[in-house]
């Protein structure tokens, strides 16, 4: 039993993938941990690009004006393997995005969570393509 615990414990620290570790570091430099944002808006365009995809979202401010935000998401490549295409997320889709604002002060943020109008997370849960099931927050 003890050997097994040692195995599990030892593995844990070493199993953080290299790519993920690097990405964490750079993101904390790009976006401000002290500036969390929650944005409600509709999708103008999902740029399915690498190394990170970008969601262009029209956000309605309290005073009625509309600003366009750029929200950083993940590489689309695995989603594409799971059947996602440029037609999967329609223009106009209502999204609530929790994230952190860019340090350079622009209308940019990293999206921690992308939530659809029905409360499910984008690409996860229910009948969405690439659904891995059961990951509702």
């Amino acid at each position: 039993m003890r050997a097994l615990l040692v195995v599990v414990a030892a593995c844990a620290g070493l199993l953080l993938a290299v790519g993920q570790a690097r990405a964490h570091h750079a993101f904390a430099a790009e976006f401000d941990v002290t500036k969390p944002v929650t944005l409600k808006g509709s999708l103008v365009k999902w740029e399915m690009v690498n190394p990170h995809s970008w969601f262009h979202v029209a956000v309605k401010e309290p005073d009625g004006t509309v600003t366009e935000w750029l929200i950083e998401g993940g590489s689309p490549n695995q989603l594409i393997r799971m059947g996602v295409t440029k037609n999967t997320v329609s223009i106009g889709t209502e999204l609530t995005i929790e994230g952190y604002r860019a340090k350079d002060g622009g209308l940019k943020a990293v999206g921690r969570n992308f939530v659809l109008a029905d409360g499910s997370r984008l690409f996860l849960g229910g009948s969405a393509p690439g659904a891995t099931g059961g990951d509702k927050k």
Partner: protein, 272 residues
């Protein structure tokens, strides 16, 4: 009687001469040339190929011109070219022509090649860099030296482009001796050359690669883009095999070469 025979002989000679001239005007094959077969029985187009022309400077007919960069002098000047576009100037829509001219006037700032961006299709085929065709039954790969650009041509299990990309999404088939590559799913960010000729994301390119001799291919391209051009148009050129025994695609990993150009203005300046 003699007059008729003389006239018919002249006619025959004239026809033969006309055919000979016509054959030099198009990139004619050695009549009936067929490439050796690849192990799976298809024409063997494997090899390292390169265009020898000025298409990357300007796909239309153009005169020699000075370098846009003063310090390069003659080393950066533009060689003249008879053009690879068939049938004269490109059939731009009027507003698109204005954009092309604006591109051209600002090309150092706007040409994606300057930024080491992926070159798109068909520009990748006629940049001053070689590319390698690696042919298998399911996939034909086009591996470019410039910026490590690569194209996968799906010969089976063909689907539509899932999303837009720089090099497009290619489905291929054999038509007799020709490899026909049908490509869509382009973004609108690449150019056709350094002269500002451009396209939209509606670009649709069909290429035909046909062996014309042991060491040359005919490369014929039909370009369709209703958002930019009033009709489809065609370009063609030979591609030449790199025959030296140690020929290989090398690295042209140009990102490093453009970082100061792109990001130099964001460098931390030494404090006063």
């Amino acid at each position: 009687m003699m007059g008729n025979r003389f006239l018919s002989r002249v006619t025959v000679v004239a026809i033969v001469a006309w055919v000979a001239v016509a054959m030099t005007l198009v990139t004619a094959q050695t009549p009936g040339y067929k490439a050796p077969r690849a192990p799976d029985g298809k024409p063997n187009l494997n090899g390292i190929w390169q265009a020898i022309n000025t298409a990357n400077w300007d796909i239309e007919a153009h005169s020699a011109a000075p370098s846009p960069v003063l310090e390069l002098g003659a080393a950066g000047a533009v060689p003249g070219g008879l053009g690879v576009v068939e049938g004269g100037p490109l059939p731009y829509r009027p507003e698109a022509l204005a954009k092309r001219n604006e591109n051209r006037a600002n090309r150092l700032k706007l040409d994606p090649e300057v930024k080491c961006y992926l070159p798109g299709v068909p520009r990748a085929s006629y940049m001053g860099f070689p590319f390698q065709i690696i042919q298998s039954q399911k996939h034909v790969m086009l591996v470019h030296e410039y910026a490590g650009a690569v194209r996968t041509v799906y010969m089976t299990d063909q689907v539509e482009a899932p999303a837009d990309s720089w090099m497009g999404w290619s489905n291929g088939r054999w038509e007799g001796e020709s490899l026909v590559v049908d490509t869509k799913g382009f973004n609108d960010l690449s150019w056709f050359d350094r002269a500002g000729n451009f396209h939209s994301d509606a670009l649709h390119v069909v290429e035909r690669f046909t062996a014309r001799s042991a060491d040359t291919l005919n490369y014929e391209v039909t370009v369709e883009d209703p958002k930019v051009f009033t009709r489809p148009w065609k370009m063609s050129m030979p591609l030449y095999r790199r025959v030296e025994p140690n020929a290989q695609i090398l690295e042209f990993r140009c990102v490093e070469f453009v970082e100061d150009l792109l990001y130099g203005h964001l460098r931390k300046q030494p404090s006063q």
